[in-house]
């Protein structure tokens, strides 16, 4: 599919950079004129994905998180978040609402549920010891209002 615009960056897996990732999404989306809700949804989505990489992928140890944002035809936003952390051994289990591998930290276990609700497609590719790649698409103008 033709890529109309693309932004790539990587940053240390430091929780302070969760805000940086949200700011990147905001800046990238503005030319596409998203609604306030679409912008809030996609800021939430990237925040969840980057937090997962930091908390679960790297278990709060040093590492690198890479994000790719693409504008595709038909106002479709592509978001890719990758880490080279511990990976996910059981992806269906990790995606169950309320499941978390870090309950002691008050993690709600809702990251995947939120990402799934606020996007049109979500793919997870992961291998234990190698890392995790999340790819998501959301077409602007698709109404997600009744899903939450």
């Amino acid at each position: 599919m033709k890529i109309l615009n693309e932004f790539r960056c990587s940053f240390p897996a430091d929780s302070a950079n969760e805000a940086l990732a949200r700011a990147a999404v905001s800046a990238f989306l503005i030319p596409a004129d998203p609604t306030a809700q679409e912008l809030a949804d996609l800021r939430t989505v990237i925040s969840e994905a980057v937090t997962n990489a930091i908390v679960h992928g790297y278990r709060e140890t040093p590492g690198e998180v890479g994000i790719v944002l693409r504008m595709l035809p038909e106002r479709t936003i592509y978001i890719r978040v990758a880490d080279k952390g511990c990976g996910i051994s059981d992806i269906p289990k990790a995606m169950e609402p309320l499941y978390t591998s870090a309950p002691e930290e008050d993690r709600a276990g809702l990251g995947f549920a939120i990402m799934q609700t606020f996007t049109d497609t979500l793919h997870v590719r992961s291998a234990p010891g190698k890392g995790t790649v999340l790819t998501m698409r959301r077409r602007l103008g698709n109404d997600h209002a009744e899903e939450a």
Binding site: S15, A16, E18, A19, R22, A36, Q37, A40, D41, R43, T44, S47, E48, T51, I54, V55, E105, D106, R107, A108, G109, L110, G111, A113, I114, T117, E147, A148
Partner: protein
């Protein structure tokens, strides 16, 4: 963030502000918990009117405080969340753990 305790009503009000994410929630949690244990309130009001962003880290924050308030017999009120924050609260089913109220309460303005 500002924390106010009303001894007459046994209500602890926490005025949250800015963005609530994994990065900010650790410090928030420590401050809120210190106030809860200091006052043992009957009601914990988390005021969201000045919160511009919240992801599931905020849900974890509410769930964790719910677990602390339960044995105290106290309840949690989530006050004035913006529409996009209400959306995350509803998705997480927070109305089952806490009352979500959208009317401003005069006490907070005093």
């Amino acid at each position: 963030m500002q924390i106010h305790y009303n001894t007459e009503t046994a209500r602890l009000t926490v005025q949250l502000d800015g963005e609530i994410d994994h990065h900010s929630s650790n410090a928030l949690r420590a401050e809120v918990d210190a106030a809860i244990y200091a006052h043992l309130p009957q009601e914990l009001v988390l005021d969201f009117r000045n919160v511009s962003f919240m992801d599931s880290s905020g849900i974890g924050l509410i769930m964790g405080r719910y677990k602390i308030m339960q044995p105290l017999g106290g309840q949690i009120i989530l006050r004035d969340p913006a529409p996009h924050i209400s959306r995350v609260l509803r998705l997480a089913g927070m109305e089952r753990l806490a009352a979500i109220r959208n009317e401003p309460v005069k006490e907070a303005v005093k």
